[in-house]
Amino acid sequence: MSALLEARDVVMRFGGVAAVDGVRIAVEQGELRGLIGPNGAGKSTLFKCLTGQLRPTAGRILLRGKDITGLPSFAVARLGVGIKTQVPSLFDGLSVQEGLMIALRRQHGERAARLLARAALERLGIADLADRSVGLLAHGQRQLVELAMVVAPEPDLILLDEPTAGMSLEETRRAAEVIRDLNRRHTIVVVEHDMQFIRSIARSVTVLHQGRVLVEDEVSRVLADPRVRDVYLGRQVAA
């Protein structure tokens, strides 16, 4: 059985700097994987490589065993991957409902899309925002709207880049609930640097440090690992 998503020795170099320097990870079907690390560890760069927003300098990315390295992001999305970016990426001039319809109409007819949009908004507890203009919403609401657009088409794999950035405590709690609930049907990879949040949702965690995988283990063991604490506190890790 091959992994759903796999990165094989992925390297991403910007000039002389290797932001991602030979990362190897494999995410199994049904998993909820946290990808953590301090600022500059290469999390977001790896995320962009996985989603086709960047073409890695070296290495391969496989989805269900199929090579997707260098595919443009729309093609990756078409293979059943839902992607949420770090800064909410939304259709500001449209209403929440219109945005969801754009997300759904590629695969569904008008009527089915309407029902699915309704369901996605209710799942995230923002059904009351349906007719609001996206550009006028508060930051936390925007995060939820983007999440709704990503999950509405029911992708097999959901990639979330810092889904709780800028959310209030209450919104973060709800997002954690939503992500756990989503994991019943979807495989999820969450990039975060909020350890607290990762502790509340993920079972397995990969820690990146200076573009490499530092540890990969079950969440409580990772969080107890002194090396992980050290890199988060900016100390040098004893090799």
Partner: protein, 330 residues
């Protein structure tokens, strides 16, 4: 289709019918020919409104398609001796040009600023080329290109299949109005379709549209090509009431179209049509006043419009009216 859309389409059709029926009966020939020029310019403004206002592609050289449409029409009609097939050729040439240019720009992932520069450059290249075709050696088939004089012998439209039955200026005015109304309705329908909604979504956020699985390049190319075709139609009509010359490609016109769309309201269809008509009317009138430079008047209007109504005439007026209505409501 939404109810509001249906109302707008019916209103446009009725308005066009009234203008097409009434104006040729009451207006003098000179006024009517001028009105036809205005209508062709309104179609040109509509084509940019579609590309820029909805596609989010700032094309600085919309006149490239306008001029190509005009020249293709004149050359084809002179060679064929009949406008029946000259019109479809004149629509195909700018559409194919837009398709080719758009392909390189969008599939090459050229960013917005460079798209402005490239489109402007293309229109200027065409302008310079058309200007330098003076002399007998420059001809396509029977049609002399005529350098900066253009093609004064540009044939008038005839009834399809009957080259001897050339249309009167009155009839050409009616044709122009029908074309404007049809282009407006076509644009409304396109924007209401799934294709149109995605075009607008891409304008709002290209990255998000791609992350949802849409290939933005295809949609941008589609709307750009449609805009090129409509711009070409404007050129055909212009050729029928004036004649074809290099000024059709000129910076003067490409700058003006942008002003019309901006003053009328970017992101609306009717606004740019209104903007084109009003501003042309105004500059024509200003031209008759002694000691006033119509271009200076146009400049002042642009500055005032940007300062006072940054959204444009139509959205601005709608907002003011909406405010009044709310203010007076109990």
């Amino acid at each position: 289709m939404s109810r509001r859309n249906a109302i707008e389409i019916v209103t446009a059709a009725l308005l066009a019918a009234v203008v097409a029926l009434v104006l040729p009966r009451v207006a003098e020939l000179f006024v009517l020919i001028n009105a036809t020029v205005f209508v062709s310019m309104a179609i040109l403004a509509l084509s940019l409104a579609l590309i820029w206002g909805f596609g989010g592609i700032l094309c600085f050289g919309q006149t490239a398609f306008f001029g190509l449409g005009g020249y293709a029409y004149a050359v084809a009609a002179l060679n064929l001796g009949d406008s029946t097939y000259a019109v479809p050729i004149a629509l195909a040439v700018p559409a194919v040009a837009a398709l080719a240019l758009g392909y390189f720009m969008f599939y090459g992932r050229i960013s917005d600023v460079y798209i402005g520069a490239i489109t402007l450059t293309v229109s200027l290249i065409l302008f310079n080329f058309a200007n330098s075709t003076a002399g007998d050696q420059w001809h396509i088939g029977e049609a002399p290109l005529g350098g900066f004089n253009g093609i004064p012998s540009t044939p008038q439209l005839n009834i399809p299949g009957d080259p001897d039955a050339t249309l009167s200026p009155q009839a050409i005015f009616v044709v122009a109005v029908v074309c404007l109304a049809s282009c407006y309705i076509l644009s409304r329908l396109v924007l209401a379709s799934q294709f149109g909604r995605i075009v607008v979504a891409i304008r709002e956020n290209e990255a998000r549209a791609e992350l949802l699985g849409y290939d933005a390049r295809r949609y941008k190319l589609g709307i750009f090509t449609l805009g090129g075709l409509i711009g070409g139609l404007a050129g055909v009509l212009f050729a029928n009431c004036v004649f074809v010359s290099p000024t059709m490609f000129s910076l003067f016109y490409s700058g003006q179209v942008i002003i019309w769309v901006m003053v009328g309201g970017v992101g609306t269809l009717f606004g740019p049509i209104l903007g084109a008509m009003l501003l042309q009317g105004l500059t024509t009138w200003a031209g008759t006043l002694p000691g006033i430079n119509p271009n200076a008047v146009l400049g002042v209007i642009l500055m005032l419009a940007v300062l006072l109504m940054p959204m444009g005439l139509l959205p601005g007026a709608t907002a003011v009216l909406g405010g009044l209505r709310r203010g007076t409501a109990p």
